[in-house]
């Protein structure tokens, strides 16, 4: 089971704060993005090719190529704007 979190404009657009799912074929961050994009509609737009999507695995910023494992917390969000 992995936990997926969405923040800021992503959370609002997707109307989803978090969800849990089985790994079933997911191996890295990129595969999670493809799966989410494949839902189509607003998911397809948020995760469209060329969109800037930042990702953190277990609360560490990482890249699409990062491997994932059971129990991971994967967060997607737009570029940060604090300070």
């Amino acid at each position: 089971m992995i936990t997926i979190l969405f923040f800021a404009s992503f959370r609002e657009q997707l109307d989803t704060e978090s969800e849990q799912m089985e790994m079933q074929g997911l191996t890295d961050v990129g595969s999670v993005i493809s799966m989410l994009r494949g839902r189509g509609d607003v998911w397809g737009r948020v995760f469209a090719e060329g969109q800037t999507v930042m990702v953190a695995v277990n609360q560490e910023m990482t890249e699409e190529s990062a491997a994932i494992k059971d129990g991971d917390e994967i967060a997607f969000f737009p570029p940060v704007t604090g300070g």
């Binding site: 404009s9 704007t81 604090g82």
Partner: protein, 150 residues
């Protein structure tokens, strides 16, 4: 001592500076950055700012940035305090204060911490203007500011 804190309550920069100053008599100087909420952005009048963050990751990201600053410069203490939730113009959004024996280290470390916070700490701003509410876009100039420390 390095203090990192996220809070919804109003932020008093003077109190943060007093606490940092009192922490260690070897401190010879403090440099601080105080980020304020402006009432204008991209020619829009902003009435309210909402700040969202990623609890847990925010603290970790800030700890990592402060740890890196401590590796690069001789720092005698620091305080990074960021506000979240709803704010009004003139409110303090963030305080970054760095203490060192001499000013050079503190100036550089303070700028480094705020530059990295801007691009690496998971905070997001949403502004309320008469035209509506919208998420603030990341600025390219913030990416450039981070690059200069590479």
């Amino acid at each position: 001592m390095n203090e990192i804190r996220i809070q919804a309550e109003p932020l008093d920069p003077n109190r943060e500076l007093d606490l940092l100053r009192a922490d260690n008599p070897a401190i010879g100087g403090i440099v601080s950055f105080i980020g304020l909420m402006r009432d204008i952005n991209d020619d829009k009048r902003i009435t309210t700012l909402s700040l969202e963050h990623y609890p847990g990751m925010t603290e970790k990201a800030l700890e990592r940035i402060v740890a890196e600053a401590n590796q690069r410069w001789e720092i005698l203490g620091s305080r990074v305090v960021h506000r979240v939730g709803e704010m009004k113009p003139t409110d303090v959004i963030v305080v970054v204060a760095v203490a060192s024996a001499h000013r050079g280290e503190a100036f550089q470390a303070c700028e480094f911490i705020i530059d990295y916070l801007k691009t690496r700490a998971p905070f997001w701003k949403k502004e309320q203007a008469p035209e509506g509410r919208y998420w603030v876009e990341a600025r390219f100039s913030d990416q450039e500011a981070e690059q200069k420390w590479k």
